[in-house]
Amino acid sequence: MRRLLTGAAAALLLVATGSAAADARPSQEAGARIHLLHGIPDTPVDVEANGENVIEGFEFGDTEDLSALAGQTLAGLTVKAAGTDDVAIDGGDLALPAEGNVTAVAHLDAEGTPTLTVFENDTSAVAAGQGRLVVRHTAAAPAVDVKANGEVAFSDLSNPNEAAADLPAGTVTAEVVPTGADEPVVIGPADLPVAEGSSLIVYAVGSLDGGTLQTLTETIDGLGSAPGAVQTGNSPVDDGATGSLPWILAGAGALAAGGALTLRRRFARVPVRDR
């Protein structure tokens, strides 16, 4: 444990220094965001690395934030059934990235054997009005099609792969079916809230044969963009330029007398005020 703690402290210093020095850079470059997700139903585990227990009693659906360990290698990463020495996953040495955004998922492979997959999370901006939907096949099940609102959106998705799309923000009704088939619906229908400016990551987890197929979700916010332009006029007013004279004057009855003068002043002002 001492080694890991020392490592964590070093990472902490690095993160702190990094962000202090990173004044002008996008903040996402300052360190990494690393999550570990438990995606195996009914299987509480202990996680060992560097010869020590680092997470005890890690349960299905739990997340551990490993961001403080960015850039380090977890040597001899081992996942054991909780409170036992039964090795469920021998993860070897897991190098954690120094930057970026990843989720490491402990899950079942297609045949039902526990394994660990590291997914890189796409944190690129989404267009204004849109959200991102990411589907990850991390279940003991064959390849599937994912239907969104009745249409196949992602086809032939197999473990341990992902598919993604940017969509207009809103609720997507999703169903998962075997590739090329309309039924049986193995997951869903489920309403997925694809929020504007966010990424909704849906993990299919569990086992088809074991009857534990289900989903876990993860959300990454802050990916929004500003709209392209604000088009707020398609017809001219007066001389085609907006007024500089308080319109309240016009309303006070200076309309007829001051009309010509106002026009000239408005026209003359425009180039000066451009910036």
Binding site: V15, A16, S19, P26, S27, G188, T219
Partner: protein, 213 residues
């Protein structure tokens, strides 16, 4: 177990530090998202439709907590003669531009903050549309210090005061106008500058900035 907690504590401390550094940089777009816990699915709920051969998993959790304030419904700028103009929520056109309602209405950009919440709440309205004066026909004449009142859906209202009026070439409208976080502010946008008759469009945007009164 205590070891685990110590590890978690350290991770948390590092995050807090990183978070402080980030916020000092002042960036908004593309900022590192807050680490989000992976919510567990609730227990399986109602059975699915006929024909499903497997137990159906539950729907995912609801999206993040609702904003603190109700959406805006009306706008008053006494000095411009705008009195209780209807405000409607708008989004984005297929081409990516902000959606703008008809000339007698004001559009509130529903993907951004609500007036009074943190960040820049955007209200946009036409200067003129198809020859009809829009609600923001005279926005260019509003002056710092002018009072702006936004009615909220629950019958309450929020008062703002104009701090600045700027004009930008349309393609140079600052993204900060749509900032999702930061101090609560209100931004009123319309068109201005030269009218390009061929393009049926104005060259500039007029932007009035306001802060809570």
């Amino acid at each position: 177990m205590s070891r685990t907690h110590r590890l978690r504590g350290l991770a948390l401390a590092a995050l807090v530090l990183a978070g402080t550094g980030c916020s000092a940089s002042g960036g908004n777009g593309g900022a590192e998202p807050e680490p989000t816990a992976l919510p567990r699915q609730p227990a399986p709920a109602a059975p699915g439709p006929a024909g499903a051969t497997r137990p159906l998993p539950p729907a995912p959790p609801l999206p993040a907590a609702a904003p603190d304030l109700p959406p805006p419904t009306g706008l008053t700028i006494e000095s411009l003669g705008v009195a209780g103009a209807p405000v409607v929520p708008v989004g984005v056109e297929p081409d990516g531009d902000m959606e703008i309602p008809g000339p007698q209405e004001v559009g509130w950009y529903r993907h951004g903050p609500r007036p009074g919440d943190g960040g820049s709440a955007v209200l946009a309205a036409h200067i003129a549309y198809d020859g009809v004066d829009g609600v923001f026909r005279h926005l260019d004449d509003v002056r710092p210090g002018a009072a702006v009142t936004v009615d909220l859906g629950d019958g309450a209202a929020r008062d703002f005061v104009v701090t600045a009026v700027e004009r930008y070439p349309k393609q140079a409208l600052p993204d900060e106008v749509f900032a999702r976080g930061g101090d609560a502010g209100l931004v009123l946008i319309t068109c201005g500058g030269r009218f390009d008759a061929a393009a049926r469009s104005y060259e500039d945007n007029v932007v009035a900035y306001a802060r809570p009164a």
